[in-house]
């Protein structure tokens, strides 16, 4: 059974438990087919799921920016040629260990913490953690104060300084609000993986694995259980959703 099929199965069971088997059977077989495909559009996200990402730094090549390019394309992060202030949801870092000189290349993005400092400091509640573990900015209520940018230990957030036009319909962005990686929430809600993971996998690198950390049978949970991996700044006790192998 694939991971998406397993997830759909869990949604279906939860739905059946909630409304009763009789009601569902009464509404016909088509409804059941829809439920089996993905999370239904009309059901809220569940706290039973915790989305996470595992990044194998040994497969992440120095100078490769496939994930960054895919992210920029998916969300229309065109930039204004001003690297200091242009939006950046995922960036490549080269980390050198002082003692040995070993260089490790890795993508840095919002770590989707269980206890996100950006949420703690937000004065309006715009910075929030969705039930399934995705940390987002609700731009309807963001006032652009940028406290969250200061609080984030990973420098994962950007501020939009200038008027934008022709945003992607699935990724609204606008001047005066803070933004960051959404784990491609629009894709997840339609049962697909984030754009960066798709790109990494399509290019044959396979350095990124995405899935449900709470599902013991998922690829990512198995990997977290069996292969040594770590969080960045584990001392902060944030329980990040993004984990790295080989650092």
């Amino acid at each position: 059974m694939t991971e998406s099929a397993r997830l759909a199965d869990r949604y279906r069971r939860r739905f059946l438990a909630a409304v009763g088997v009789g009601a569902v059977l009464g509404s016909g077989a088509i409804r059941l087919v829809e439920l089996a495909a993905a999370k239904p559009d009309d059901q809220p996200v569940s706290g039973e799921v915790r989305w996470g990402m595992m990044i194998d730094t040994s497969k992440c090549a120095e100078g490769c920016t496939d994930c960054v390019d895919a992210c920029n394309d998916e969300h229309g992060l065109d930039g204004f040629g001003r690297p200091q202030t242009d939006a950046q949801w995922i960036r490549k870092l080269e980390v050198r260990e002082r003692a040995t000189g070993k260089v490790t290349s890795l993508p840095m993005l919002c770590q989707h913490c269980e206890h996100p400092p950006c949420v703690d400091v937000c004065p309006t509640g715009a910075s929030f953690r969705r039930a399934d573990g995705i940390v987002l900015v609700n731009k309807h209520t963001c006032i652009g104060c940028r406290y969250c940018m200061m609080a984030c230990p990973y420098k994962a957030r950007s501020f939009v300084h200038e008027n934008l036009t022709d945003q992607r319909p699935w990724s609204p962005r606008g001047k005066g609000t803070v933004e960051s990686c959404t784990f491609c929430v629009h894709r997840i809600d339609r049962d697909a993986r984030p754009a960066c993971v798709e790109a990494c996998s399509a290019a044959g690198h396979g350095a990124m694995v995405f899935g449900d950390l709470n599902d013991p049978d998922s690829d990512i949970a198995r990997r977290a259980r069996e292969v040594p991996s770590r969080q960045v700044r584990p001392d902060l006790d944030l329980n990040t959703g993004v984990r790295y192998e080989g650092i």
């Binding site: 829809e34 999370k39 239904p40 559009d41 009309d42 059901q43 809220p44 996200v45 394309d73 998916e74 929030f128 969705r130 039930a131 399934d132 987002l136 609700n138 731009k139 309807h140 008027n163 934008l164 036009t165 022709d166 945003q167 992607r168 319909p169 699935w170 609204p172 962005r173 606008g174 001047k175 609000t177 929430v185 629009h186 894709r187 809600d189 339609r190 697909a192």
Partner: protein
Amino acid sequence: MPIRALTRRVACFALLAAGAAGFAVAHAPVPEPQVVRGEQCVAPTDVMRRDHMDFLHHQRDATVIEGLRTPRFSLERCVGCHADKDASGTYLRVDAPGQFCSTCHEYAAVELDCFGCHAARPYQDENAGIDARFPFHGLAFRQPHAGRPGIGATGSVLHD
């Protein structure tokens, strides 16, 4: 009748007439925004005129916070149906002068701030088909309302 009283009455009548004329001028005709495609909206026109902002406000919280993506009151789908094309086939912004949203919003003097962040026209890619690059977006404007639960193939009335 003393001449002063008569003058006063004539002056009053003149003022009233002028006022009535002014009142009539202030009532510009209610605009009829042009409907570009689709036979029927997601609710009757009078309901949409009065309540569309409430529908969108409710939907935005449900979508952002709870991940509910029912298509009925999706802003992306509003734009998908109501955006017009120019002669060259390029989509126009729905908030451009004379287009669907701005026609009424200018009349009512209500500022539109949806499109500071949201796309004001459907996504068009000159280089590749939308399905090739972004296969996860069942965009209403490509095949209006086809294949989505709750929406008829011809964009008929929807029931969530």
